[in-house]
């Protein structure tokens, strides 16, 4: 058993555990912490795939920025424990089986893909010069979608600002 395999196993288990705890936990802060655990474990998995850039961005953007805001808001509102509802009957008898089917279906198709499940994104994000390759793709081939997304986000920020402002 090699070290990368061990790391993969540990981080995979941690990610799944975090995801389950996220739903299970009653306290909002515990849920947020579990989500951070999921994101950091995913970042380690990206590192194992040889994509350090994506791993770093995963932590900076999700764990370092978005989740900090989540935690900040939970602290600010001092939100108490949630009330859990029971499983609705629809979720129990239709949702759960469908979810299980989806997992196996996705696993099946990933295993059947030509790279044998390991290299879905091919040589784009992996490898030592992945940052250069990625930025070339982003700023040359996909420049228009990239800029369009940026403007979309800007509009969303302005919209939030307008909505949050008090009426004079």
């Amino acid at each position: 058993m090699s070290v990368p395999f061990l790391l993969f196993f540990v981080c995979g288990v941690l990610a799944v555990t975090g995801a389950i705890l996220l739903i299970w936990a009653k306290e909002p802060i515990h849920s947020a912490l579990s989500l951070i655990l999921v994101m950091v474990s995913l970042a380690v998995l990206y590192l194992l795939l040889g994509a350090p850039f994506i791993a770093a961005i995963q932590i900076i953007v999700y764990a370092g920025a978005i989740m900090v805001l989540f935690v900040f808001v939970i602290m600010l509102l001092n939100a108490g424990a949630e009330e859990h509802t029971d499983f609705s009957r629809l979720a129990k008898y239709v949702g759960l089986p469908l979810g299980v089917i989806l997992i196996f279906w996705a696993a099946y198709w990933l295993l059947r893909s030509p790279a044998g499940g390991g290299g879905v994104t091919g040589g784009l994000i992996a490898g030592p010069d992945s940052t250069q390759k990625l930025s070339k793709q982003l700023f040359q081939q996909f420049l228009f979608p990239f800029e369009a997304t940026s403007i979309l986000i800007l509009i969303a920020i302005l919209g939030a600002l307008v909505l949050a402002r008090k009426q004079e």
Partner: protein, 407 residues
Amino acid sequence: MEFISQHPVLVASIIKIAVLLVLLMTALAYLTWLERKVIAHIQSRWGPYYVGAHGLLQPLADGLKFLFKEDIAPPVTDRLVYTLAPFIAFALALTAIALIPFGPPSVAFLHGQAVFSVADVGVSLLMVFAITSMGVYGVALAGWSSNSKYPLMGGLRSSAQMISYEVALTMSVVGVVLVAGTLNFNEIIGGQSGPFWHWNIFGIHQGGFPQIIGFLCYLTAAIAETNRIPFDLPEAETELVAGFHTEYSSFKFAMFFMAEYANMITVSCLATILFFGGWLSPFPDSWTWQEFLPGAGLVLLGIYCAYDTVTEMRGMARIQLAVVTLLCFGAGLICLLPAVAAVILGPFWFVTKILIILFFYIWMRGTLPRFRYDQLMSFGWKLLLPVSLANLVVTAAWIAFGWGKHG
């Protein structure tokens, strides 16, 4: 032996992590001693003086005190998060330092493993930012889980402050990334080789642009990120008792304390790498006598200690300082050996530059009063961020249009 030859990376990493941990813990302990001494002298006091000669054993006494004190936790805390918070803060602060190269990668052992850096990932700069950006959780969760007014205020202040200044911090180093054209520490340092005006802060070479404004923005944002005076609002003792760590005692408090100092060291290392050429010497390579500077410095320190031992010290302190004197002379003589001198030069310059920045940190603390909270926010968003953005735009234009290239 077979195991070592089969897993050189694993074995080398474990050795390097162990050595770095010991060195770092010692450095953290003596950084507190240095801070107390410097602040004391700024304020015309003596500082720690009685535990060991010149208070040299004070860090040890403090550490033992923290270890053996009763760990008092309020009964109404969120137990899990309350215990987890100091560990998060401390672990993240230590992890970031593993990515710092303290010397040239050419010095290697065990089948080509670099001696002076634990981990050399392709995007080391982003990785350090990723790890330090998580550091806010330690403070925020400590404030929240204590279930008490003052820590909550401290935690809230701290998360708001760290989010705000992180933007400016990141923006201020993008200029350096543009000039260097890489996110890897070793390549960033390699791009600054040559005489000292090739360092990114001066940037007077082909295609470079002086990053002096970027450095000033970085330094200001870094002081705010590490919650130090004049930006130590999260633990403003006149308003918030002790801020986020009010309810912590014993070793958990010590962990926050050590995390803060480890973060200071990390941002100083980053400043050194990004703006001051890392482990590069300020002198041209042809000045071969500089290899003897580390040894000579230690011997000089030894001579001063010897003088002090004979003239000032009495009793136990005299014996203690005599030991320090012998250690200085011994280490100095080892560093004067040609084989050692060549290897030690990179780390020597790196540590010297870090010490200068750390001294500046402490100097700030002894000089400046604390900001008010609204001043802090408007300073970060309305001055620091626009200036670092302007620096980024000018640097980008300078490089894109090739204004720095002559002919």
